[in-house]
Symmetry: D2
Amino acid sequence: MAGNSFGQLFRITTFGESHGTAIGVILDGCPAGLTIDLDFIQSELDKRKPGQSKITTQRKESDTVQILSGIFEGKSTGTPIAMLIPNEDQRSKDYGHNVDVYRPSHADYVYDAKYGIRDHRGGGRSSARETAARVAAGAIAKLFLKHQGIDIFAHVTAVGKINAPNLESNDISELLELREANIVRCADPATANEMIEFIDSVRKDGDTVGGKISCVVKGCPAGLGEPVFDKLHADLGKAMLSINAVHGFEYGSGFDGTELRGSEHNDIPLPKAKEEQQFKTISNHAGGILGGISNGMDITFKVGFKPVATIMHNQQTINAAGEAAEIKGKGRHDPCVVPRAVVIVEAMAALVLADHVLRNRAVKL
Amino acid sequence: MAGNSFGQLFRITTFGESHGTAIGVILDGCPAGLTIDLDFIQSELDKRKPGQSKITTQRKESDTVQILSGIFEGKSTGTPIAMLIPNEDQRSKDYGHNVDVYRPSHADYVYDAKYGIRDHRGGGRSSARETAARVAAGAIAKLFLKHQGIDIFAHVTAVGKINAPNLESNDISELLELREANIVRCADPATANEMIEFIDSVRKDGDTVGGKISCVVKGCPAGLGEPVFDKLHADLGKAMLSINAVHGFEYGSGFDGTELRGSEHNDIPLPKAKEEQQFKTISNHAGGILGGISNGMDITFKVGFKPVATIMHNQQTINAAGEAAEIKGKGRHDPCVVPRAVVIVEAMAALVLADHVLRNRAVKL
Amino acid sequence: MAGNSFGQLFRITTFGESHGTAIGVILDGCPAGLTIDLDFIQSELDKRKPGQSKITTQRKESDTVQILSGIFEGKSTGTPIAMLIPNEDQRSKDYGHNVDVYRPSHADYVYDAKYGIRDHRGGGRSSARETAARVAAGAIAKLFLKHQGIDIFAHVTAVGKINAPNLESNDISELLELREANIVRCADPATANEMIEFIDSVRKDGDTVGGKISCVVKGCPAGLGEPVFDKLHADLGKAMLSINAVHGFEYGSGFDGTELRGSEHNDIPLPKAKEEQQFKTISNHAGGILGGISNGMDITFKVGFKPVATIMHNQQTINAAGEAAEIKGKGRHDPCVVPRAVVIVEAMAALVLADHVLRNRAVKL
Amino acid sequence: MAGNSFGQLFRITTFGESHGTAIGVILDGCPAGLTIDLDFIQSELDKRKPGQSKITTQRKESDTVQILSGIFEGKSTGTPIAMLIPNEDQRSKDYGHNVDVYRPSHADYVYDAKYGIRDHRGGGRSSARETAARVAAGAIAKLFLKHQGIDIFAHVTAVGKINAPNLESNDISELLELREANIVRCADPATANEMIEFIDSVRKDGDTVGGKISCVVKGCPAGLGEPVFDKLHADLGKAMLSINAVHGFEYGSGFDGTELRGSEHNDIPLPKAKEEQQFKTISNHAGGILGGISNGMDITFKVGFKPVATIMHNQQTINAAGEAAEIKGKGRHDPCVVPRAVVIVEAMAALVLADHVLRNRAVKL
């Protein structure tokens, strides 16, 4: 199956290149009867759009979404929802210098190797601009999940070697407010300031830096995830790894947990009070997922992003003929991708969860 | 789609419970004309089977594979290859005590929550015994990849806090020999001894411990991987995360790479000598994959396994009614899963790569 | 995706060749908690098995099904149900003469052309023996549908130019009894006798003849079918056309309906009495399906089978080198396929409906 | 999987309602490097568009296609091709009378039953307007097939009881010219005149009539089709049955072939001259497909369309409350759908064949 679709029952297909006419998405499988809040979709896109602050790319795109189908009188009808985001600021000529030269650590070479042809304007299809389409669809997934009592929250927990402490609050509204109060989208204000300062200095160096985003899902019922291959964390992992620049995924105790003993790592269940439904454990090394199925505890995972490849330094590289060439970054790029990626992580998580909510409906009499 | 299939064109579907009649797999999409070496398949299964050494479970299973279809006169015919592995040592009564009690950090509770019914004998479908079916199919994937010039090598690089140094050799035959010379399957003999000693002491404590497996794919041509969702590393990540006990996946520079600057992380391409096909870079932080597509360099990734949940200690837990209960591990379990998981990691990697070799055939005129 | 799977959520994958070790099926997605009546599954297989009567092939196969997984204490667990049917009467030597010669109107040539290799024993994978696996899985689908109040009935309505009149009864138990009272499986006793006599005379001529099977689905709720491609009748059509020897499918008014005017063809809805749920129309040219979605009326369709290609006459043909050759039918074959195909039609219909029952659960809030 | 996608490797997803903003399609999997002739795409759409002649609906839509992505410098790049067709003549108010009344033999009732909500303007998603998106994608499939030496030709062979004789010509250019020389799209001029006259009289009666379309595929290599479920004719059948108003599909000898004996029906292969590749048979009852795989002969099939449900007569029906109601057709509708459906049949056939060309690449070493 061609690779531009994601999900089984709540399924998206995205299209579009960085400097083409438009990018967009078809969402097939959104249940009928959902109230579609267009302002919410736009506000999600606004969190991803370029030009938000001094630590993001200065490309100017309003990223205004148009809904073409699937909504009638404000509600989803069960038919495909198509959304379009026109490209506005297509300074393709910035990329004329890339026609024949392969930018280091970009996808230029591999697209040529794979397809024998490449839209070289701004990375073409390999541009992270494609993720705007995911955010639009993810916003609808969030609306569906909200209706099911499920909430998702992500924020930046590392930039370079600067790490945020564990969150003290457990309240998503409060966390969202803390996060949106700063331009790096870390819910810890002190760390946020440190991160911003650091990114700004990196930017001034013409350089870039990586980072990490942590995500928690609250209110997820027990039972989501389809063993043995479509385990909930396996689908979350694939979703995250499909985001541009992501190099690592871990859930629950993650890589740190590999150093523990079973007697330390096991999460001990608590007896339920009468009529309580909720399964609870003392610790949550499982990250809310056992055997690939949600257990009702918070789902937690972390995503690692490498530094953006486009830097404003001279770099050695090769051209399409394999000869030595030199390149200097032009165009408008992010010094650090994580502030804008927070909403992408949330969107992909929402898409995975919405899909598994629907898939879970089919499993018992 | 139900969750027991993996892959698109080179596609497996597995079945079977830990203590049922048999486990097995159908491989649909293996190209016709491949010579099927049954001894090789069995030798792969032998690397995963229980009872191999003092640091694995003492359950006795010969894991003898039977091929039921899809092979004619020693070659694949392009029709589905069904393989069966009978369960021999089904001491189901060892699990009688689990009928009503949820073992901590096992999937018992979530299977009940999801399906309303559960085969409680030895974990049923959630048992890692299912991975034998993956190894059998993965062996055929390896034979196909070998025919395409692609080799896969994994070994144990961490047990608890004991980490192996970087490999000095680049030769897969040599590495395989080093790895198979010890029971923990680490290609560094000194570290291997340390690991074995540690696992044995953990086992004597009635406890378990986690670890890490690193994998390299050599000889992979440029061009494998299907953007934007079925990126090669995204499919590898999902494959690995679908293995029992895996909590983390990273490729190339991984989580460490998130701390670097772009100027440090970028892999600088080397000019090609005349008639050279191979794309080469000075460093390989990309782990052989750019924009989700292989670039021809070694593909490298790492997988983290949590400690096995079954320990020989008394643990507090709850029963199906939600009441407090106590459990003590019985049955026969591994103190550390990574020695037997090496071949599972290789098998899943082989399945992903075989699938992408086939998918890549469809992309250009 | 490789072609040996059918269905999305209630999904089967079959394997096996006519003269291999065994054929079988994995059913993935059967809801948990269904009581699995093994005797019923076997009784369905008995209706398809060879050697039932003088008008079927004399190959001797007991077609005894073994269940390998997915059932615990008599109920489905939500995990894959694997079923195995060993091949017993493998007179492969009957087929030695076929190694190099392409039998007219068989798949011999195309398998060689497609795969470059072919299991020539009895048609290998192209043999209708594969359909036994479908019948086994279809039996479980029927059990699930029965639980949902949905019943399926098919019978032979034409052999050659002999056509059965429209059914007078509307009662499935009665119809089943009428059908099973004769060896051709036509619910009209007089026509059945005529058909049997005709098939027997054709058999004595060493020849074969085609026929038609009609099917009705009762108790299907409104709402099954997923526009715009997975319309209920489109999936039924694909299911039927995937059965060996089928050359045509029509539903409701079918090809005859193309000759009508809209004013004749339209089905006029009847006002509902208070508290009645059921949508009813005066006529049912729609065959119970509008816009690809069931409307609650009886679903009706018809399937056309060509005559079996193996005849006991000398026939001109070619060998693998393209040279003229002569062939005379050997082996044991059916003079007319429809009596044994009735239960295959029902099985495939059941698989489609079970799949759509599950898919329909995902469409609204 | 949600039902608005078709194909595996050459895969389309359509969206849009009759009276929404736009309809469109994403084609994912078109091989890179294909020259995209926009004029050809538009000319195909022109053959389907409304208002072409006195025997089609008078709705005015230019059906001008816009390509949003996937094409660079005139060639496909291997990335998704998104195409948009704005809706221009949205006289939604014509449909105000349908809000609460279920039109007989339309999908109004079942959409309400399935989704609990319905875009009642002009049939919404159930409108045949959706097929314009298929025609746009099918045009690209045709360009790809042309590149592979495969041609498709369909024409009207029956309107009501008027049947066209068998074609005398075997030349597709000539046939196309004959077909496009008349407004009913029958390649036999005398029959075409009769059909046109008949449709016009039916139209004057305010009534509608059904018909049949026959299709031939020339130049198809042996080997396309994936047993045992994705047989070439099974996928063609599903494709055709997914088109609005289709009630029947048959290939090769079809339903008529069920009346023959094997000795009459078998297609006898002809010895090949030296160096000839092509497999040939004296007759072609197989319709170019054996065992679900193309054999290199012409592929032939026939599709039956019921009469359009909207008639200009008063009809009894019910409203959403189940009460008796009366309806009289308004809006602008076709008296007979087949003249405009010829290019839809060709488009769907092209999509199936393109998909199977790509799938066939994966089957052997």
